[in-house]
């Protein structure tokens, strides 16, 4: 088979056995966490899992175009999931981290706004470059009418392409994805920061003020690492590209929820073991 025909064949089908194994794995990890650290650790782990699922679900909304989008042959932002997630998610994470001292709700909302803002700016500038730089209109190839505005798409789509540019629904999807990703990343950071701030002083035999830089750095690093793991797993789920919430691939999200929950639980458990052992 030629290289052109050898597209990834990961289908939309669910694998019930694997999903069951995933859920069992999740319960085992939660149980292990309850044994090691019943109160503080388990609460943190639940927060981490929620954050990870938010990231995994949010990434489905982001219009990732990949290399075809760079050539104007497919809709979406012309780069991979890893780069987009890192950009939007980390922007949100940094925004949320600034607000960490103002309480959980304010910080998570701030993180969401940071991520959404980053994606809004990215989508706007991407469309700017597409329309005024490459001279192509925004048109989706997956739907006949934009689900939000109702605008007809087919007339604007060039022959031989899957669409191009960022239609309105993709733009909205990108912002929603940024909000969910930023909020999820911030939630992971806050949970870990709270845990480390509470346990590092006794573990390292120092005052809370002294260990604060270490706690911030380790929590931030873990948040980044969990973010990347969840984003890449979602990228595997959508096999690299997606147009936004109207894309048929979006229906695969239940798989990503289970995958993100297992991956976040596993990585979060290891992060909790640092202070629980």
């Amino acid at each position: 088979m030629s290289a052109v025909a050898a597209k990834p064949q990961a289908g939309g089908a669910m694998n019930p056995t694997a999903m069951a194994v995933g859920v069992v794995l999740l319960i085992i990890i939660l149980g292990a966490c309850w044994v090691v650290s019943p109160n503080l650790g388990l609460m943190a782990l639940i927060g981490i899992i929620i954050g990870g699922v938010l990231i995994g679900f949010g990434t489905h909304f982001v219009p990732v175009g990949g290399a075809p989008a760079a050539m104007g042959q497919a809709p979406g932002i012309a780069t991979g999931v890893a780069m987009l997630a890192a950009g939007a998610g980390l922007a949100g994470l940094f925004g949320g981290a600034w607000a960490a001292e103002q309480g959980m709700v304010v910080a998570v909302v701030t993180g969401g706004i940071g991520g959404g803002l980053m994606m809004a700016i990215t989508c706007l500038m991407v469309n700017f470059v597409y329309v005024f730089g490459m001279g192509i209109p925004a048109a989706s190839g997956k739907v006949l009418h934009d689900p939000i505005t109702g605008d007809s798409q087919a007339e604007y789509k060039s022959q031989g392409t899957e669409g191009h540019g960022l239609p309105f629904v993709s733009f909205v999807g990108g912002v929603i994805g940024g909000i969910l990703g930023g909020a999820g990343g911030t939630l992971i950071y806050l949970e870990l920061l709270g845990l480390y701030e509470a346990t590092f002083p006794t573990m390292m035999n120092a005052t809370a003020a002294q260990v604060l830089p270490v706690a911030v750095s380790v929590a931030g690093m873990f948040a980044v690492a969990l973010f990347l793991v969840n984003a890449v797993l979602t990228a595997y789920n959508i096999t690299g590209t997606i147009e936004g919430p109207h894309d048929p691939k979006f229906k695969r999200w239940p798989r990503a929820i289970v995958a993100s929950a297992v991956a976040s639980a596993l990585c979060g458990f290891v992060a909790i073991l640092i202070v629980a052992m």
Partner: protein, 282 residues
């Protein structure tokens, strides 16, 4: 079922690279223990050499995985490698002398489960997926550990979170001025993540040659080692940092010139084109 796009023609088999990479990385990381025995920091540069050998192994693993056309771009493989590896590495640093072995085992477990998740739950169905993600998590963990050894001279949790300084004649313990407290781990993370994904991303295609890609990996590794050696001036003695820096510079210069030679070898035709001659006279 995915179809493999490229096949490895000739060259060293992957298992051989994996075993050689694993053994040399572990040996180099353990050689930084000479610091503790001799009570100096002169042997920190072995951490950098561990980074280079781990990256060579890792970039070949990425080649094995991404040959199947996973559709997400090569950089994503580097990101998940380090995302899962750094978590295992940080927990492993608490085990003292056993840290590299614990990092190896823990990262392998995390990578195996992530491989199962992506192959079965996410239905990727790529034959090399589980093994490749397992290997890459190990590579990520050992690379960050190598950077830690290079920058701080050791890889114990206490050593990574504190540094001793003398302030107005009194010995002080600083937490902010350390590998973890100062955030140097974030730089190490991305130095490694970029160095592991770049070589295959740059060399893939019909003209892919194993030795050229691996030479580029070594070049990227030494380039990262230069940056890490500069950062190590903050945490280890200047003389030791200069040793690391010189070794990194020599290694980078050698591998870069070798990569240049290999690139010329593989180019269809290499012409030393002169600048456009300005003979028209207008």
């Amino acid at each position: 079922m995915s179809v493999k796009v490229e096949v490895i023609e000739g060259g060293v088999p992957h298992n051989k690279i994996m075993i050689a990479g694993l053994v040399s990385t572990l040996v180099c990381i353990y050689l930084t223990y000479l610091n503790a025995f001799t009570n100096t920091e002169m042997f920190s540069f072995f951490g950098g050499l561990a980074v280079v050998s781990a990256l060579i192994w890792g970039s070949h693993t990425i080649k094995v995985l991404c040959s199947y056309g996973i559709g997400t771009g090569v950089p994503s493989a580097g990101m998940i490698a380090f995302g899962s590896g750094v978590i295992a590495m940080l927990l492993a640093t608490k085990f003292g002398m056993l840290a590299p072995i614990v990092a190896l085992v823990l990262a392998a477990v995390i990578g195996f489960i992530l491989g199962y998740v992506s192959n079965n739950i996410l239905n990727m169905k790529i034959p090399a997926m589980v093994q490749a993600l397992t290997e890459m998590a190990v590579v990520g963990a050992l690379t960050v550990m190598g950077f830690a050894a290079l920058i701080t001279g050791g890889f114990s949790f206490v050593g990574l979170t504190t540094s001793k300084a003398v302030f107005m004649g009194l010995p002080m313990t600083s937490y902010g001025n350390s590998f973890l407290g100062g955030g140097l781990i974030a730089v190490a993370f991305l130095l490694g993540a970029i160095a592991i994904q770049h070589p295959f991303n740059a060399c893939l295609g019909p003209g892919w040659k194993q030795d050229r890609m691996l030479m580029l990996t070594a070049e990227c590794g030494f380039l990262s080692m230069i940056v890490a050696a500069v950062m190590s001036f903050a945490l280890i003695s200047a003389g030791s940092a200069i040793i690391s820096l010189i070794i990194a510079l020599i290694g980078w210069f050698y591998t870069y010139s070798q990569y240049f030679v290999l690139s010329k070898r593989d180019a269809a035709a290499w012409l030393d084109s002169k600048p456009i001659p300005d003979t028209e006279g207008h």
